[in-house]
């Protein structure tokens, strides 16, 4: 079972659309069984339409710029609240979905852990930070798919004024690039078409937006094994990371 996690699209307020390559990757009908929209994905007609085509089974949690209720369209006038948290079940996993903006302190692992405990879930999906993350804590799996559009982030930007960081080093997350066992569609490695970047004092969109690259996550869940694929869009290329999480069936008693 494939679960797609998208977060922080901020269309149209801060971004125009997903990268076309993402769209192409995701435009495979009947492959993805469920979509989770975490934070700020509900204001765009186009995006919701696209998501519905990926899979009609959509779970949504509310981000700070989402309204309390699902947006209405011509056809659908039913008012439905968007919750702050929700839980979905896939395989042997219960997956908690949580909007990042009600977690204090923001993105704090211990706070998230407490929430995961409260929701009694094995996997916690959260968003709001625009930074893609995945880690295991206390036997639970925490995944933040980042912003699927690389939208402007009002949080502290990754670059601070004191640090002169070579941008490339920080953004290239190609740690697990060797197992590109792509879940949806195998991405063919291409030679990087070096863009026509100006060589002067150059401030990229990346810097301005808060150094977030577009990213999303795909969870391939088979019984008690969750394989997480992280898709990152860097300089016109999609890179894929893979992380495997296995549920411990019995908890160790002292």
């Amino acid at each position: 079972m494939l679960v797609l996690a998208l977060s922080d699209a901020h269309i149209p307020d801060r971004a125009i659309d997903l990268p076309d390559k993402f769209k192409k990757l995701l435009s495979v009908p009947n492959k993805i069984s469920q979509v989770v929209l975490l934070d700020n994905c509900t204001k765009s007609y186009d995006l919701l339409k696209f998501v519905n085509e990926v899979s009609p089974n959509v779970a949504i949690v509310r981000g700070e710029f989402d309204n309390a209720q699902l947006p209405t369209t011509k056809k659908n006038r039913i008012k439905e609240s968007i919750p702050i948290n929700t839980v979905i079940r896939q395989g042997n996993f219960k997956i908690g979905c949580c909007s990042g903006y009600t977690v204090v302190p923001k993105g704090d692992p211990l706070s998230l852990l407490a929430l995961a405990r409260q929701l009694d879930v094995d996997i916690m999906l959260w968003g709001g930070t625009h930074n893609v993350e995945a880690y295991t804590l206390e036997g639970k799996f925490f995944v933040n798919p980042g912003s699927c559009t690389g939208a402007f982030n009002s949080d502290w930007p990754i670059m601070s004024e004191d640090e002169v960081i070579n941008k490339k080093e920080t953004t290239e997350v190609d740690t697990n690039k060797q197992d590109e066992e792509s879940a949806v569609k195998s991405e063919e490695p291409k030679e990087t078409t070096s863009t026509d970047k100006k060589e002067k004092v150059e401030i990229s969109n990346l810097d301005i937006n808060g150094s977030n690259v577009p990213s999303f996550c795909l969870l391939d869940i088979q019984d008690s094994v969750c394989t997480l694929y992280i898709y990152i869009y860097i300089e016109g290329e999609v890179k894929v990371d893979r992380v495997v999480f296995k549920k411990e069936e019995t908890q160790i008693q002292p």
Partner: protein, 914 residues
Amino acid sequence: MSYAETLEQALLTVKQQAMQMQRCLQQRKLMDALKHTSIMLTELRNPELSPKQYYELYIMIFDSLSVLSTYLAENHPKHHHLADLYELVQYAGNVVPRLYLMITVGTSYLKCPDSPRDEILKDMIEMCRGVQNPIRGLFLRYYLSQRTKQLLPEDATEFNANFIITNFIEMNKLWVRLQHQGPLREREQRTKERKELQILIGSQLVRLSQIVDDNLSMYKDQILPVVLEQAIQCRDIVSQEYLLDAICQVFPDEFHLATLDILLDATTHLNPDVSINKIVLTLIDRLNGYKDRQEQEQGQEQEENTTSKEVKAADINLFQIFWNYLSTLNEERPDLSLQQFIPLIESVLNLSLRWYPENLQNLNALYKITTQKCQDFGSDIPPNCEYLFQNLLTLQNSESSTLRPSSNFFYKLISQCESFGGLLALQSLPLQKSALNSILDVLLHNEVDFDDENEASSNEGFLIDSKENLCSLLSIFEPLTKLGPPMPSLDRKGSKNVKGTGDHFPADEDDNDDEGSWILDPIQEKLAKLNHVVFQSVVKSSDPIKDIEFEMEVLLTLRNWCYKGGKNIKYTYPAIITNFWKVIRRCHLLATRCDSENTKRHTELIKQNFKYVSRSTNDLFNMCGNSFSDALYKLNIQSASLADQLSLGEIAYDFFSQAFTLFEESLSDSRTQFQALVYMAQSLQKTRSLREENYYDSLIVRCTLHGSKLLKKQDQCRAVYLCSHLWWTTEIALIGEEEGVTTDFYREGKRVLECLQRSLRVADSTMDNIQSSELMIEILNRCLYYFIHGDEHDTHVSVRYINGLIELIKTNLKSLKMEETTTAKTQLAEQRLSELHIDDAQNTAKVSNRFVIGSDGSYIDVPTVNGGRALVSTKLNSMYINEMIQIPIQHFNRTCDYILNQRDVDDRFKVIVI
């Protein structure tokens, strides 16, 4: 001699007679063979057959006559002389069989070298006049044409051309005459029959094109004028449409290029009901195709590195020719309807796009003439030709990919062709809307995506080069800014017919003011995106250091433009604010990175931009009122965060204050209030620049205070325990902070404890036992957070306090148990209660984990099936009271498990008693 009554009989007769004829030929009984042939041919006199049936018969007879023809030619002059036979067959009493025989014998004679070719040919075509019946005449002449195909003298092109033209003219006359046969009510039937026969006429033009080969002067001087004259003179719609189309199709592109004016001039003399546009479209398709092919050839030639052929077309200004034509047409044919005229213009437009892609003046002229035409017609453009304008304005029909206009093209078109806007403005609102919508789609694809390898080079995005151009671009879209969201009550058709009503602003205002709801509006969404596209294009085109002011100017222009949308600014302003933010960050980065003397200027610019942001939020508030205040609240907080990140504490404080004001004045719904406060807490917790002047203190106290005043006890409780974090700053690794290294974290454990105690009091006083217990467990978890985070004397959260809390929870859970209804399940749960933490996980999972409580206190009904979605509700459902009771119990169990687990890594946990 008479003919059979039905087609079947006729075919049978033909078959029999043909066989007998062949038999006679084998026995060299020519006279008998001719007699059978004559009987066979009598069937072709039948007036009752439809064209299709006649054709069937004709085909069969044609084959038999071929046999005869071969025999005749082979046995001449040994067994007979064809000159004699040519006379002999003319004794046949009926004209149709006689002429078929004559042609058969005559053409056989032509095969013999000693025959007087010209005389025979002339005689045959002359005698064919005897058949004036359209169908029979057409087939007879077609027969003549087929038989003579290979036999025309090779060296006499002119003679041959005349021969074919003569035949063509007669055939066309007959064809036209067919229309007028029979009763009036069968006219349509006639037209249908004629179309079935058109290929017979077309074949003559094909023959002509074969004859003329590449002899342009002959085509131009002798063939085309005659054919066109014939077409014009017949004044028949079907014929004119077909002939002109056939001319365009049959003859080579080069000819058309050379005779374009003649051809176009001819179309002005046609029957007024002929759709000229189809003809012109065909012609232009040919010319565009020619261009394609030529470019291909040139490409190949370049590859092969051979000398390129001279390009004749380069000398001719095609557009000028068509333009003259359009002007003439416009003058001479004022009766021409829009349905006719617009497609013409569109065709010429496509021509111009294909041949002169860079020439926008052509397009401007075309739009101008269209505008005039529209004005001539008055304001009422018939609805059935609206799509024509749509096509014209959006250039939708440019079929080949090379023609498909890019965003850059549209940008240039809009900014440089003033007539485009004029024409657009003449259209009805729905039409403008849909046309603009299509154009928007193109413009929004401005960003060159590296995906499209092939198109990346050709499809350059547009670059905003001047404010004037920007303004003209924006003014084009003004009609859209004012449109309200699509109303569900009016479907598209309805709104089209009822102009102006309900399309501007939605009828039911309540809906819009409803706080929680949001109506998706694809158009406003696109406009918002357009803001981004424009801004990006400006950034791309301008010098990043110098032109910050220009960028700001553009943004202000955009803002003013959006402002015209009235309430719609709630869709578009956030995008503008985002871009102001971007400018701010850019200024900041420039200031820090370049380290130039401009720092001060940049700081000024930053402050200016924050003012714009503030102004924008004010506009939003004034325009949209309460319906948008929640988003505004958050926009203010984010602006504050941004200011804080740039160490602009004062500005940050102002924005936070604005947010509080909004909270106090405009946020009414309790859930919204709770979430808003949590967000405030989250944002404040990340600030770093507010320490001076007690900004931070006053803000966090205010925040906590609001939390403690929330309407619902559970919201108070949660808000307050979350506010405890405001006194316990945690690291932000991004700016180099590190737990244990950084020493100046703002941390006041005493306050933290106070918050926790206060929330516990609220939890305790909560009347709902389930919520009360759950809240206490949540507070316990919060205590554990601080317990991990620091020493007791820092955090003031002591083991004693935790143990006390655990005891309290246990007591509460016991009393909660009382509420359980006694069933078998309950007994099981009771049993478990006594053991509390010593549960068997499987059982628990199965029986009781149906519900959990979310971080805002909502009940989440955990789905039991794969892929299911939880039902989230704020109300407790008494139906499932037993399951609900399990929520705090299980949560407590999990917390206890956690504590037990932590004992392995942290000895301090061992003192927590559970």
